[in-house]
């Protein structure tokens, strides 16, 4: 005898499968963070903390310059590039003068552009990098350190913040394959 869709045995098995309706499956966000500029890590942390607030299982794979997000020392000194950013707005409100590229090339200008960025964020009541990162951790966002990047940049496990485990692309893709949303920043 061959099994048919209306087979009473199959129907009975489906009916007693537990958890199908009782617990809605948690949504998953897979986020690859490949940049380490202060202006570039904000979108990552905003997306991740929002997903966490929604109760999603959000995981961030920190690779290449994005590794700085979980690098204990370097994460304290994230900066904004003073040159090469065509979208950089005029630094002073009401003064429609942008910083010429040649000025941005002067020593110390990266500190200045970083200072301006932090000032804009503060004025807009947006938490700083560390606060936003803490918000992510509070809602159980997971951060991974890319194993290959650690090798290439010679970053040791003890230089990575506690809680961020080392992972390879295969293991992350294994998670991303099941994710509802996958983003690359």
């Amino acid at each position: 005898m061959t099994a048919q869709s209306g087979d009473p045995v199959l129907t009975a098995v489906e009916a007693v499968t537990p958890g199908a309706e009782a617990v809605p499956e948690q949504k998953k966000l897979a986020l690859v963070a490949s940049k380490g500029g202060l202006d570039e890590v904000y979108p990552i942390l905003i997306m991740a903390s929002t997903a966490g607030a929604l109760g999603w299982d959000a995981r961030v794979f920190c690779t290449f310059y994005g590794l700085d997000i979980v690098n204990a020392k370097r994460r304290k000194h994230l900066q904004v590039a003073a040159v090469g950013n065509a979208a950089a707005p005029p630094p002073f409100e009401g003064v429609p003068v942008k910083v010429p590229t040649i000025v941005g090339m002067l020593p110390g200008m990266q500190r200045v552009s970083t200072w301006f960025m932090k000032r804009w964020m503060k004025k807009s009541n947006i938490p700083d990098f560390e606060e936003l990162f803490e918000t992510c951790l509070e809602s159980d966002v997971t951060f991974y350190a890319c194993a290959t990047t650690m090798g290439v940049m010679n970053v040791k496990q003890d230089e990575i913040i506690e809680g961020a485990s080392c992972l390879g692309a295969t293991a992350f893709l294994d998670f991303a394959a099941e994710a509802d949303v996958a983003l690359f920043v």
């Binding site: 905003i46 903390s49 929002t50 607030a53 929604l54 109760g55």
Partner: protein, 80 residues
């Protein structure tokens, strides 16, 4: 703007931008009982679509929504 809905807790997110209103609302809803109402106030122009999405994603109920000058007002009932 007045509403008939009685709020059990008020959360003022005026002046705060994404993602903070959503983060704070998610935290605050856990501090009230199931069936109780959280009144949230925001000025972020992204708040109305964000909070509608928040309701869809979290399963809580938006009992009422209003605008008052530059403020967006929401009333959420905790459902679980």
């Amino acid at each position: 703007m007045t509403t008939d809905v009685q709020a059990d807790q008020v959360l003022d997110c005026s002046g705060l931008l994404c993602p903070i209103p959503v983060v704070k609302t998610s935290k605050a809803i856990k501090t009230i009982e199931v069936g109780q109402v959280l009144h949230m106030i925001a000025t972020d122009p992204g708040a109305p679509p964000d909070m509608e999405a928040w309701v869809r994603q979290t399963g809580h109920e938006m009992v009422a929504q209003a605008t008052e000058d530059d403020k967006f007002l929401f009333w959420f009932r905790r459902t679980k």
